[in-house]
Amino acid sequence: MASLIFEALSFAYPQAQRRALNEVSLTIGNGEFAVLCGRSGCGKSTLLRHCKTVLTPHGRRKGRVLFGGVPLDKVSFRDQSEKIGFVLQNPDNQIVTDKVWHELAFGLESLGMDQKTIRLRVAEMASFFGIQKWFMKNVSELSGGQKQLLNLASIMAMQPELLILDEPTSQLDPIAASEFLETVKKINRELGTTVLLTEHRLEEAFPMADRVIVMEEGAVIADGEPSTVGDMLKEASHDLFCAMPAAMQIYAQVDGPAPCPLTVRDGRRFLSSLWPENPPAFRRIAVPEAEGNGSAAVEIKEAWFRYEKDGADVVKGLNLAIPEGCFYAIVGGNGTGKTTTIHLMSGILRPYRGKIRLFGKEIQKYRDNELFTNLLGVLPQNPQALFVKKTVRLDLLEMLSREKGSKEEKEKRILEAARQVDMEGLLERHPYDLSGGEQQRAALAKVLLLKPRILLMDEPTKGLDNAFKDKLAGILNRLKAGGTTIVMVSHDIEFCARYAGRCAMFFDGSVVTEDTPNRFFSGNSFYTTSANRMSRHLFENAVTVEDVITLCRQNQNQAANA
């Protein structure tokens, strides 16, 4: 039986010319695990919000949605609340009350259940999700991953038939994200709950899915089992492939046997099947020379730091030299002191021992206005921490409010900054009406107005889809070409492997190893890209998907010529 049916659903937001949804017809079966993907703005969130009346956006609509065979507007608010669970993107915003146990009970209270039933349901959920240890805590003490798990648990407590998740892991670090997705899988497999998920961590979501639905410009362009969808997209040689798992990307670009591989394991087999007998002739890819051999822009010598006098050290004897003009990426797990190091470099925090120099001069010796004009730019992890005005233009202008200069001159600088980040068309928008990636770029434009020579960024790719990441990379490359030194802290291995000039791995408060991304990642065996894990038995130093594809083609061409 079908759980959810969209019948030729079209939708347009008020005052929008283009339809956000165009004739979407879909049937999601009971107990199915469906992943909905597509780039930002393709209409997937809009489609999900149509699955629940209270979340449905205002606008013009055609077609209808059926839940359990009944048109959604005929399903009572009570039934919808109980049977359709919805997890949103931001873990923090969804939490309503101040205590974990109260949050778990919130939905059940709304449904008017009695004390005994709620007690049982809450106990069940706490046990299923492993929440007992933090059951009595204040929600403000939880980590992001725990918060999102709590949101999921408090919805599962109502025992919904259909669980809808709108990019639930985009704000989580990779480990918390896999844990979360594993839990969703467990819910689907063990409880039989129907799952409809949008996600950009497709690497992990695809192998779980029974079904993948691809959307583009408000319409469904592919729909089927994950590997079938891979074949469909390969045939259409669709550029959406850049968002697919590494194995699928390689499959799409390299001639080889079907079926389309999804996981690293499948991809490894796929590559092995290309050279069944002899190993390939070309095993190394040519790598560009290490960049940034100039003098150090940032130099940290034996820095030690802790937050409280009696607390544990967070940064321990850190030595780091970041050459001028380099795009430097710091990777590593949670709580290893990466973000603290960024704060040390920006002067927000000070080491209690050791020295930090910017261009050879100690950071404390700079005056504040010297430090942050034409020298140091810091992009906060959450770009929303910078927006104060009602349009992007006014917000940029606000940055120049303390500077002298004519209006035209300021206007010119604003346009230039907007051009640097590809935002000329969005200057009149309210910052909060922008998508995550656009907000990020607007914040970057604000920082760039100060013409920094060193740009510090804390997880700039968090929550961005691949198209936005590529765009960000383009902007950063342009800045680098202009001589800016870029320092980035990130969990995003794939991004660092592809774009960084050097990578450093943080562990336990200092750098364990540091090298060019190619040498760095081909030297690691766990903490590396999926393309590398897939190909390391055949190639010595293929780190990115492009590396693997290039090497495969070289070898195949050579074989063909021979």
């Binding site: 009570r78 969804q94 709304s110 008017g112 403000s140 104060v388 909060y432």
Partner: protein, 295 residues
């Protein structure tokens, strides 16, 4: 220190504090004042340890002296004139009265410090969740938002610092402007993000008829016993108050009832009432020791 009374049912906690606070606010009889002050200090020290001792000496003692001085300075009633200051008589009665009201005020403040340690927000929300469901939800949400907003205010002020707007420099006006900028960024952030909170509430059925209120508190045998004891003691004290056992006249001259067997009974009831949590703790401590000594 672990407090046994805090682990009792919120109804017991709340009844106790309501009674003790009201009695402390209205009984001006020296014996009652003394019992209340002593009990509040002992319980505060039990609850908060060294912090309570510091609080009592650093803040409450000067407060006591100050309040004790206010009264004779403005109140010139009373028969026993001790001295004239600027043609105003300072009387013995008004000094005694000043000390009494100071003791009363200080003991109320110390009782409140105990209340704050015992009556946590979730107990309050539990007690009033049924009577004022919407307001107690608001309360719970505000308590959730405040730490979140405070943390975000810090993030914002760091971000401001990183674009060269060090907020802690400059004259008063500049600082106020910087503060308002931080607040302004915070306001936008809070409001825009809260819409998702509203979505999450409605998505989980908020607004349906017949909302219930869940709590993990259980009313056990011990709570029943404690509540009965509380009721009996409160009854004794109130009966004593009706029989004028707690009354005292300060002006124009101090007149106080002589202690009788009946009044001693009322004093004892009041003492037991005030010391109930401490007594419970001692009882629990003793039970543990006995259990362990058997092992």
């Amino acid at each position: 220190m672990r407090d046994a009374f805090s682990r009792c049912h919120p109804v017991v906690n709340f009844t106790y504090f309501t009674a003790v606070l009201l009695f402390s606010m209205f009984f001006m009889h020296p014996v009652f004042l003394g019992i209340s002050l002593a009990a509040s200090m002992v319980y505060a020290i039990w609850l908060n340890g060294g912090r309570a001792i510091r609080f009592q000496f650093l803040y409450m003692l000067p407060m006591l002296l100050l309040v004790a001085l206010i009264n004779p300075a403005f109140n010139h009633e009373g028969m026993t004139i001790l001295v004239y200051v600027n043609d105003n008589p300072i009387t013995l009665e008004s000094i005694v009265y000043g000390v009494a009201s100071a003791v009363m005020f200080v003991s109320v403040v110390i009782w409140f410090s105990c209340y704050n340690a015992v009556m946590t927000s979730d107990k309050f929300i539990y007690l009033f969740g049924r009577v004022i469901p919407a307001l107690s939800l608001i309360l719970s949400m505000v308590l959730r938002f405040v730490p979140k907003f405070k943390a975000q205010a810090r993030v914002i002020s760091n971000a401001q610092k990183c674009i060269g707007r060090d907020v802690s420099n400059g004259n008063l006006w500049t600082r106020a402007r910087n503060g308002v900028k931080i607040l302004s960024i915070l306001v936008t952030w809070a409001l825009e993000n809260a819409i998702e909170t509203a979505d999450s509430m409605r998505s989980r059925g908020y607004g349906l008829k017949g909302r219930t209120s869940f709590s993990h508190y259980r009313f056990g045998q011990r709570d029943k016993l404690l509540l009965t004891t509380l009721g009996l003691l409160i009854f004794c004290v109130l009966a004593g108050a009706l029989l004028q056992e707690n009354s005292i006249q300060y002006f124009p001259y101090i007149k106080i009832n002589a202690a009788t067997a009946r009044s001693v009974l009322v004093y004892t009831a009041y003492f037991l009432l005030c010391m109930l949590p401490v007594g419970l703790n001692i009882w629990e401590e003793w039970t543990w020791r006995r259990l362990y000594s058997k092992l």
